[in-house]
């Protein structure tokens, strides 16, 4: 999948790439084609970028005077609000807030690491098993089934969690018939890492295995035949033939995942716990925190500061990740 994102700069195709009238005229039809997309990108991706200065401001909503060049309250307030330097960032590490800050950073990092490892193992195991099964019809059917959850929204998954585990849910009905105490999942912190892990594996394993399956299918059968003739077992074949072929892709995908380690799956972390206050400690990630702050009455600068740190660290991590890929496998580098 990541190979598709490879952005090759086409060097040498055009000696001058300056925006001269001549060049624009020659490429006019191409330019009109990219224009709608470029406008979308400008509005939805570039327009919010200058807004990162919110992190350094004490944002106050003000009404612009009649003669100001724009009558938009947000733009005016953004410009006129006072600069407060690093105050918004300092707020997050005040002794009162430090614990909270460390919690949501920890949650984001640990959950992402957990999902990376579990996702990798499950996806490769599934790909290998699907490939080895002798009946192709069943193999395809299994794979179709495992791929299905990828298309189900997290909100529906939240319903499933609720149906399974509410007071009259299946789990508690079963526990009650065994005379066991009731499980209140919206109050039990210890359960949530498992719930997230299971939900994550359920949703993404089928999808994650597709790329590995495509690579395994492409491996030359003669390698396996030679190994089999030499008496290599299936496990030996896996570790000495299949795995080495998968390694470049594994490395690439994991490095990219590290690049996104500060970004959490907002929909999952926000919908599954259904805002229960008892488990906030283990379910709040950076994105959820930013959203909650944004919706609260606290100054906009605080969530903006968190979002800025997240954006910048994410950006740096992707650059570093790409640099490493470039050293190891230049053909797989993103840019």
């Amino acid at each position: 999948m990541s190979e598709t994102m490879t952005v090759s700069t086409q060097k040498g195709t055009s000696p001058r790439r300056r925006w001269t009238l001549d060049a624009i005229y020659c490429n006019l039809s191409y330019l009109t084609m990219v224009l709608p997309g470029a406008i979308w990108l400008f509005i939805f991706a570039y327009l919010p970028m200058p807004g990162i200065i919110l992190a350094f401001k004490n944002y106050r909503l003000q009404r612009p005077p009649e003669d100001f060049w724009t009558q938009n309250k947000f733009i005016y307030s953004l410009i006129k609000s006072e600069w407060v330097g690093w105050d918004n960032f300092k707020y997050l590490i005040l002794p009162v807030n430090l614990n909270n800050t460390l919690e949501f950073v920890r949650n984001t990092l640990l959950y992402n690491l957990l999902f990376m490892v579990a996702g990798l193992v499950c996806a490769i195991a599934l790909a290998v098993i699907i490939y080895e099964l002798t009946n192709r019809f069943w193999a395809k059917l299994y794979h179709s089934i495992f791929f299905l959850p990828f298309f189900i929204s997290w909100v529906v998954v939240a319903y499933v969690v609720y149906a399974l585990a509410n007071q009259s849910g299946i789990i508690n009905t079963a526990l009650a018939s065994l005379n066991m105490p009731m499980l209140e999942i919206y109050k039990a912190k210890i359960l949530w890492p498992f719930i997230f892990l299971i939900a994550n594996i359920w949703k993404y394993t089928g999808n994650g295995s597709i790329l590995y399956l495509a690579i395994i299918t492409g491996i030359d059968r003669q390698l396996y035949e030679a190994a089999a003739i030499d008496g290599a077992s299936k496990w030996q074949q896996f570790f000495n033939i299949t795995l080495p072929q998968l390694v470049p892709t594994i490395v690439l995908l994991q490095i990219l995942a590290v690049g996104r380690i500060f970004v959490s799956d907002f929909d999952m972390f926000y919908t599954l716990p259904a805002n229960s206050a008892f488990i906030r400690e283990v379910t709040t990630t950076i994105d959820v925190y930013v959203f909650n702050m944004l919706r609260s009455t606290s100054p906009l600068g605080y969530p903006a500061a968190v979002a800025l740190v997240q954006s910048v660290i994410g950006f740096v991590l992707i650059l570093v990740a790409n640099y490493i890929v470039r050293k190891v496998r230049p053909d797989l580098a993103l840019f």
């Binding site: 999948m1 700069t9 990108l41 099964l133 299994y142 939240a158 499933v160 299936k234």
Partner: protein, 305 residues
């Protein structure tokens, strides 16, 4: 998979029959576990409400009832409105994204487009860096002011740099340069070439873009959460989310609010599960027909030219 090999010497390389059986058993168990959640909500939705409250959720209900569904599709129900909003935004968003992505990808796939480096970077940079949620929220609400309009449900998801690069690769590998040059020599303009030559050959790639985009908008919950406050404009995902959330909150605080709310007034359990079922229904029904396009979409890059 597209690179299916002839089955030479499959016998020698095949796993032993006993391993095969063991793996099949494992796969069947996993498949059942994967499908179990769907089963749970479907069964709960067709259980008689009183049975559900008295006995709790069961694997096989004592009494079936379709009351929840008939209630759901009664006139004026919130689900009908939500369905309407979801369908409108999915159709509009999918059409828009196919057009935008195709128009952006085609010039980038051509070597003679002089600004291709610039526009590649223009799109790619947005995948690396963003303004963050806070400023996005403020720009959407204060500058664009698309909150509480139907546009908010699909415009923010109507374009994707990722699919631009997928489609660009697809065009490069599947539409021969000679064909485009031949069209040019015959006097076709860039637009004619795109519509008459490139477009027909890119249909499988575009189908993938369309399907992923449709699923993305159908399942989109974040846009509505962020930008919609008006019940009339809730989409399906947000409707069922707010229902679940309200109920869980009320149940949790029922002891504190004695007398203020009675549990009997809440939407019934079966009703809620029926809501979840009608939300995923179209996806599950369409899935068998479109599954190969989804798989292709994810392996499309493996054939980089």
């Amino acid at each position: 998979m597209r690179t299916a090999k002839p089955k030479i010497a499959r016998d020698m390389l095949s796993i032993s029959p006993s391993t095969n059986v063991a793996l099949n058993v494992l796969m069947v168990i996993c498949a059942i576990l994967t499908l179990a959640p769907f089963y749970v909500i479907i069964i709960a939705s067709v259980t008689n409400e009183k049975t559900l409250i008295a006995d709790g959720y069961r694997l096989w209900p004592k009494e079936f009832s379709l009351a929840a569904y008939s209630y759901l599709f009664r006139e004026g129900s919130i689900i009908i409105t939500a369905y309407k909003n979801t369908i409108i935004s999915t159709v509009a968003g999918t059409i828009l994204s196919v057009i935008l992505v195709m128009l952006y990808a085609y010039p980038l796939s051509r070597n003679n487009f002089r600004f291709s480096t610039f526009f590649t970077f223009f799109a790619f940079f947005t995948m690396l860096f963003g303004g963050g949620l806070v400023s996005y929220y403020m720009v959407m609400r204060q500058i664009l002011q698309i909150q509480n309009t139907i546009w908010a449900l699909f415009l923010p998801s109507a374009f994707s740099p990722f699919w631009v690069f997928v489609l660009r690769t697809y065009i490069k590998t599947n539409v021969p340069d000679e064909l485009i040059e031949a069209a040019r020599i015959d006097g076709a303009s860039e637009w004619t070439t795109l519509l008459r030559v490139v477009l027909p050959l890119s249909v499988p790639g575009l189908a993938t873009v369309a399907l992923f985009s449709a699923i993305g908008i159908w399942n989109n919950f974040f846009n509505a959460l962020l930008l919609i406050d008006n019940v009339e404009l809730y989409n399906l995902q947000y409707t069922i989310y707010s229902t679940l959330n309200n109920i869980r909150f009320l149940l949790e605080n029922a002891d504190k609010m004695q007398g203020l709310v009675s549990l009997a007034d809440l939407p019934s359990q079966t009703f809620r599960m029926a809501m979840a079922v009608v939300t995923v229904g179209p996806i599950i029904l369409a899935y068998p027909f479109f599954q190969r396009y989804f798989v292709r979409g994810l392996t499309i890059g493996a054939i980089k030219g």
